[in-house]
Amino acid sequence: MDAVLPHSASSRPQGEAPAAYAAEARDIVVEFHGHKAVNNVSLGVAKGEVCAIIGPSGSGKSTLLRTFNHLQEPTSGQILIDGVFSVRSGKPTAAELMALRRKVGMCFQSFNLFPHLTAAENIMLAQVKALGRSKDAARDRALQLLDRVGLASKADVKPSKCSGGQQQRIAIARALALDPEIMLFDEPTSALDPELGAEVLAVMRELARTGMTMLVVTHEMHFAEDVADHLVFMADGVIVEQGNPSSVLRNPQADRTRKFLKAVTDR
C-alpha cells in the first residue's frame, strides 16, 4: 500500500477528492477559547491503509482524530468519507451525523463500554437501535465478533468482570458490529499495562490484515512501525512530519520529531 504524500490545501484540485482516500480531513481547524488545538491540518487515508498518528500530549492528535466522526465539531474544514463530504455545510444534521458514524467506528482510551449491559448486549445495542437488525441477528453477529476477538466465553458477562484488555477487545467488536468502512482508535492501549495492551494490539493487527482502513492515535512506536503503512507526527496542532513509518521513526527530518523520538527511545 502506498503511503499518502503530504499535501497542502492550495495544491489540491477543487471539488471531489480522489476516490483513493477512504477518509480525508481537509483544512481542519479546531479552536478552543481562541487556542487552535488543530491548526489547518489536512490528512488523507487510503482504503485499506493503516495510518498512525504520534506526538506529545496536547499536540492535537486526539482532537484531529475525533473530527473524523464529528465527535469533535471542527471550527472549520471538512471531513470526506470515500470522497464525499460527510456534512454538507454549516451545522451538521442529526441524520448526517448518524450516517457518518455508521461508516466510521471508534474505540476510546477508556473503552467506554456500557457497564449495565453484558458484552453481547453492548455489541447488540447499536445493531438493533441504529441499523434496525433483529435481536436474533444482532446476537448472532455479536457472538461471531466476540469469537473473532477471542472472547466468546465472555458473551454474557458484564464489563466490570473483564480485564481492561478484554474490555477494549469487546469495544472493538462493538464498533465492528456496524460494519464500518473506517476505524478510529484513540490511544487504545494507553490505559492498559503492557501485557494487556499486547492482546489489544494483536486484535488490531488482525484487523489491519483483513484490510480495514484504520486511523490510530498511539504511543506504541513498535506497533506504529510494524503495522502502520503511514506515520504522522503532530506537535502544536500541526503535522510536523509524515511518511513511511520506518523512515520517520529511524531517520526523522524535523528537529521537533527528533526531540520527541529521543524522549521516547531514551526511556
Partner: protein, 217 residues
C-alpha cells in the same frame, strides 16, 4: 388517656399521611421529568425555565405554598379540600427537589458513555433511554428514597390547613387529654416506625441495583 387509646387515635391519621406522602411523591416524580430535562437542555430558555421552577418551589416554605393554594386560590373560586390542596402543594414542591435528584443522576454518568453512544450512531432518544437513563437510575434511587422520607415528615404541614394526618390527630388528642408530651412522643414514634423501614429498604434497593448493574457507584 391510656397509652393504647392515645396510640390508636394517632394511628387514625396514618392513612392520610400515607396518602399525602405517596401521592405527592408520585406526582412530583412525574412532573420532575420535564423539569429536569428542561434544566439540562441545550436551549438556554428551557434551562432558565427549569432552573426558575426549581428555585421557586424550593425557595418558598411549604406552609406558604399550602396557604396560597388553600386560602389564596379560593378568591378565584378554586376550592380544594385540605387533603387535595396539600397534595397539589407538596407535588409542586417535590417536583423541584426530585428534578434536582434526576439532574444529579444524569450528571453522575461519565461523559464517555454519551460519546460512545454517539460514536455508535445511536439517536439522542436511544442514547438517553438505553445508555444514560439506566445508569442515572443507580444514583437516583437512594437519593429519591431519602427525599421520600423527608417528604413524609414535611407532610405534617398539611395539618395546619386541616388535613387529618398523624400530626393533626396528635394535636386533637393532646387537647382532649392534656398530656401533650406523651402524645407527641407517640406521634414522633409513628413517623419513625414508617421511616426506618423505608430507609432500610432504600439502602437495600440501592445496593441491589448497583450490584446487579455492576455500575461504578
Amino acid at each position: 388517656m391510656n397509652l393504647p387509646g392515645a396510640f390508636s387515635s394517632i394511628a387514625a391519621g396514618i392513612g392520610t399521611t400515607a396518602t399525602l406522602t405517596i401521592s405527592s411523591f408520585v406526582f412530583g416524580a412525574i412532573i420532575a421529568i420535564p423539569v429536569a430535562l428542561a434544566r439540562v437542555s441545550r436551549l438556554p430558555l428551557l434551562r432558565l425555565i427549569g432552573g426558575t421552577y426549581i428555585q421557586i418551589t424550593r425557595g418558598v416554605p411549604p406552609i406558604v405554598w399550602l396557604f396560597v393554594i388553600y386560602f389564596g386560590l379560593s378568591q378565584f373560586k378554586i376550592h380544594f379540600s385540605s387533603v387535595n390542596a396539600s397534595i397539589v402543594g407538596l407535588s409542586v414542591i417535590s417536583a423541584g427537589y426530585i428534578a434536582e435528584i434526576y439532574r444529579a443522576g444524569l450528571n453522575s454518568v461519565p461523559s464517555g458513555q454519551q460519546e460512545a453512544a454517539q460514536a455508535l450512531s445511536l439517536s439522542r432518544i436511544s442514547s438517553f433511554t438505553n445508555v444514560t437513563a439506566p445508569q442515572a437510575l443507580v444514583a437516583v434511587i437512594p437519593l429519591a428514597i431519602a427525599y421520600f422520607i423527608g417528604l413524609l415528615k414535611d407532610s405534617a404541614v398539611a395539618s395546619v390547613i386541616g388535613a387529618q394526618d398523624i400530626t393533626a390527630m396528635a394535636l386533637a388528642a393532646s387537647k382532649r387529654s392534656m398530656d401533650g408530651l406523651l402524645i407527641f412522643i407517640l406521634a414522633g414514634a409513628v413517623y419513625l416506625i414508617i421511616s426506618v423501614p423505608v430507609a432500610a429498604f432504600g439502602r437495600w434497593a440501592g445496593a441491589k441495583i448497583a450490584a446487579r448493574w455492576a455500575v461504578r457507584a
